[in-house]
Symmetry: C2
Subunit: 259 residues, 2 copies
Amino acid sequence: MPPDAEPPRHGPLEERRFVARPLSVQDAIRRDIIAGVLTPGARVTEASLAQRYDVSRVPVREALRGLASEGFIDSRPHVGSRVAAIPVHDADDLFAVREALEVATARGAARRAAALYSGDESPADWWRLRREIAALLDAGDAHVADGDLDPLVAINDQIHIAIAELSGSATLTRLLRQLSWKIEWLYAADVQSRGKRLWPEHRVLVGAIDAGDGERAAALMAAHVRESRIGYLLRHDVTTPSADPAVAAEVARRRSADG
Amino acid sequence: MPPDAEPPRHGPLEERRFVARPLSVQDAIRRDIIAGVLTPGARVTEASLAQRYDVSRVPVREALRGLASEGFIDSRPHVGSRVAAIPVHDADDLFAVREALEVATARGAARRAAALYSGDESPADWWRLRREIAALLDAGDAHVADGDLDPLVAINDQIHIAIAELSGSATLTRLLRQLSWKIEWLYAADVQSRGKRLWPEHRVLVGAIDAGDGERAAALMAAHVRESRIGYLLRHDVTTPSADPAVAAEVARRRSADG
DNA sequence: GGAGGAACGATTGCATACGATCGGCGTCCG
DNA sequence: CGGACGCCGATCGTATGCAATCGTTCCTCC
């Protein structure tokens, strides 16, 4: 089924509802913060941002409030707002929570796939998400083949978010999205991630979801996120490797092995 | 030291910065949603809320945007907003993620306590939070002694949030706060929680944090949250008890034991 | 009688304007 | 010479007004 068959049918309604919102001011500011255009500690007044993004103070104000509740902005009433500090010392904990989040979403997605095949449920947007994941997998493969690894981190995040949406839990999806932004911020701040080795795991994971094997999907996701966590800790030498003893041991082992 | 000695000194600056913001519109609406005053599915227009809380449309608008990003409001552009559905089918996953979150914050709080005693760090508001926890523990004890268990769930949440702040991770604290609101919503929606049995565990947990024993604090918190999760699942008979096999087995065991 | 289209009401999105509050700095008094 | 008081610029918080968009309803035509 071609992916462009259904969208023009319902038109802009379903379109705006779910996928392609026209990049709100909040998204634009967040993107600039993550990309490093707005550096931590920088003063951002409503007026300056309004001029920067060519809108009035009102949307900027709403965006700032949202970004403050997401932790990208530190705001003090009647004083001003600043770009928050990158949570580098939280990195390991962020990965630990991400593991729990993603294990739950992977298991939920597989469970929902099983329910779908047995006819218990008929989720409307399941197939749309499934096709989106397929497209993302193909796009990632193409980038890997071309040796262009930079877009991989963004595609990786989109796949994981799509799997979360596949699980049907809006709450978990929302939390994971916030966490992904933070981890992306961590990656972008220091060093470009090289996710080539972890990339092939995605297809195996999606296969387990399609098969409806919840436990296998959960185990694969746990290993996948844990590898990502170990990789981050290996690239950033921190004093305390990890709070999780198993992760810390693995980091120490590889560090001594690789020299 | 009486707790009302310092606030009038620096006045409203430090006051507003951290603790007692004058209950914003967003907090008021969220409170009403959790309390069931605004029921899921109810239409909420900016104008009606503005009249209800006696403010203009602009603060209502900001509050709605924030609540939408928190998942309490479903908003569609140019159409309107509705109170979101209570995430009952996510309950078990929410507890699983909460366990990971709270284990990380408990471990972090204990680690920070150890660093404090060894003189490595000197956190300014550590003692303030520690006193706040002590006051909350005493208040909870008083309620338990009086047999007034209703405020216990709120006090419980405040203790857990304070422990998260003690860990020093703003990101984890923010995620936990959002999760706590959702779980509180779950509890308030169906049945009043009876947390008397779990209450004494708090002092043991805080003791482990004070001792700087990170692993013990983490283990205690994991058991504490898991008990809470099992209790919820026991009170709400769901078809699939839990995604975690150990939790599911324990729920089944107690259910057959209690009849 | 049914289907397509246009106009209307309702609601949000944004811009502008004004009032309230805070931090900084000069000045005055002890 | 040091500290406290008061003024002032800066910034936020809120209110009001207008334009854009969506869902609906009614009208017309087939």
